[in-house]
């Protein structure tokens, strides 16, 4: 075999190898992002499952705030619909976060309710889910950052554009979540 042919062959094999490795790496990172989002989804569902218990335990005390309880129940019904897109699900769940925080702030006015075992147990479960949710969201954002960095870096960006790997959005927390104190502070 001639030297020129050999060089061309090496370049072609090297190019194919690079494309193969780059493509697989992008697929792997995209799957990590999808997997991380599925974990957030699991935690959101867990939180939705706790809403009926929350409403049941506070409704006898919070008769004057029944509109808040009705609103959160409706939001839950929306959130568990199977046909929601990822963006819609995030938006509904951000509204649920707001509604739950509002309930927890109102609970402050009912020390008897706060003192009940069932409410304390429920509050612990809610804190647990919130913390798990926060961890899943941080993992998702880490996976998205890694994936986005890959598809924007040369030369993988050429590959990403050729195979239509789209940039993913970070999971932003609701603005109110930054401002309102944590529900855990109710214990303090």
């Amino acid at each position: 075999m001639e030297t020129g042919t050999l060089i061309v062959l090496v370049i072609v094999v090297g190019f194919v190898l690079l494309v193969w490795l780059g493509y697989n790496s992008l697929v792997y990172k995209r799957n990590l992002v999808d997997n991380a989002f599925a974990l957030i989804d699991t935690q959101l569902k867990k939180r939705c499952d706790l809403i009926p218990n929350l409403v049941a335990s506070v409704k006898t005390y919070m008769k004057h705030e029944s509109s808040t309880l009705t609103a959160i129940t409706e939001l839950r019904s929306k959130a568990i619909k199977p046909d929601l897109s990822a963006a819609e699900r995030v938006a509904v769940n951000n509204q649920i976060t707001d509604a739950m925080r509002s309930i927890m702030v109102q609970v402050e006015q009912y020390p008897d309710l706060k003192a009940t075992d069932s409410f304390q147990q429920l509050n612990r479960s809610l804190n647990e889910v919130e913390e798990q949710l926060s961890a899943a969201r941080r993992s998702y954002n880490a996976a998205v950052t890694d994936y986005n960095t890959s598809i924007q870096s040369f030369p993988v960006n050429l590959l990403a554009s050729a195979f239509h790997f789209q940039k993913r959005e970070l999971f932003q927390i609701a603005e109110s979540e930054r401002a309102v104190p944590k529900v855990g502070e109710l214990f303090q």
Partner: protein, 327 residues
């Protein structure tokens, strides 16, 4: 609520002055014994050395005469150090136990005990083979409702080398020397997570360090990047489950771990195993010892401060906050 200063003053006035007097009396007695032995050594030297040097006719008996004061001297030195050790042990038994119980009645102090080698090993913080393991001054029980145990630990491994003449030399190397603390963690978890000093990035720079950490030839789990840059500057996190690692290492806990790193100014390592948080604080200093000189109020308060120095970790890391499912 009483301040720490007031409660310690009360403890000193009501419960410590008696034991302090007892320890001082015992120390005085031991010092007197040492002086007596030293005086006897002097007498033996005066009686035995001149004949040994000046009377050649004594023959082999001269050596025996020389040995007598030397034996007295060796015995005096040995008694001096064992006496000092006995005083230190009495101090710990009578005074440090009371100080620890006063901090929290649920806590106890045992000068002869330490975290067991198997517990130390199972925390997974140190991978080396342990050839020699020792420890003392164990505090265990419950502090502000958190079950914990901490003690001084010295774990070493040995290497052997043979020179050209066939002489074998054994060298001991520290795996860990310092204070080791195991505390019940407030969240449930299933996998093992490690937070160790970021040696690779600090030694080899970000690019190469990062590459080596990703290769991870040493630790179990894989490297997890956290979003707090200051935390990342000091620590590297290895875990089997990145979501669980982030669940354990909440943003606020990471900030507190950075503060702890600054307060101790030491290469602290953490691990989360078997429902506990394990903290290794390396230090060459010998903690929880009897102060030199007078056992007055200030010196005993310094002993209290040493215990609080480590117990405050529970408060600083909020380990006593129980707002999650685990009770």
């Amino acid at each position: 609520m009483e301040s720490l200063e007031e409660s310690f003053r009360e403890l000193y006035d009501t419960a410590l002055q008696g034991p302090v007097a007892e320890v001082l009396e015992f120390r005085k007695q031991k010092r007197a014994e040492s002086l007596k032995l030293l005086r006897n050594t002097g007498i033996a030297a005066v009686v035995c050395v001149p004949p040994a040097l000046l009377i050649p006719s004594l023959g082999g008996f001269r050596i025996a005469l020389g040995i007598i004061p030397a034996a007295f001297l060796i015995f005096s030195i040995w008694r001096y150090f064992t006496g000092k050790k006995e005083v230190r042990r009495l101090f710990k038994a009578r005074i440090l136990t009371k100080i620890v119980s006063a901090i929290d009645p649920e806590l106890s102090f045992d000068q002869d005990n330490c975290i067991s080698e198997s517990d130390f090993r199972s925390t997974g913080l140190f991978q080396e083979r342990i050839d020699r393991y020792s420890g003392e001054d164990c505090v265990s029980g419950s502090y502000h409702g958190v079950k914990l145990i901490f003690s001084e630990i010295h774990a070493e491994y040995k290497t052997e080398s043979v020179d050209g003449k066939g002489h074998r030399t054994t060298t001991w190397h520290d795996i860990f020397k310092g204070v080791f603390l195991i505390a019940d963690f407030q969240k449930d978890f299933n996998t093992r997570t490690f937070v160790v000093p970021d040696v690779a990035e600090n030694l080899f720079g970000q690019m190469l360090g990062n590459f080596l950490q990703k290769l991870n030839l040493v630790r179990e789990g894989r490297i997890i990047r956290m979003e707090n840059p200051e935390f990342e500057k000091y620590y590297a996190v290895y875990a089997h489950d990145d979501v669980e690692a982030r669940y354990l290492l909440s943003p606020s806990l990471m900030e507190r771990m950075v503060e702890l790193r600054k307060r101790f100014d030491s290469q602290i390592s953490f691990s989360f195993t078997d429902s506990c948080m394990n903290i290794a604080i390396p230090s060459a200093r010998d903690f929880f010892e009897m102060p030199d000189g007078n056992l007055d109020y200030d010196s005993l308060k310094r002993c209290l401060s040493e215990f609080l120095f480590f117990l405050r970790i529970v408060d600083e890391l909020n380990l006593n906050v129980r707002i999650w499912s685990k009770e």
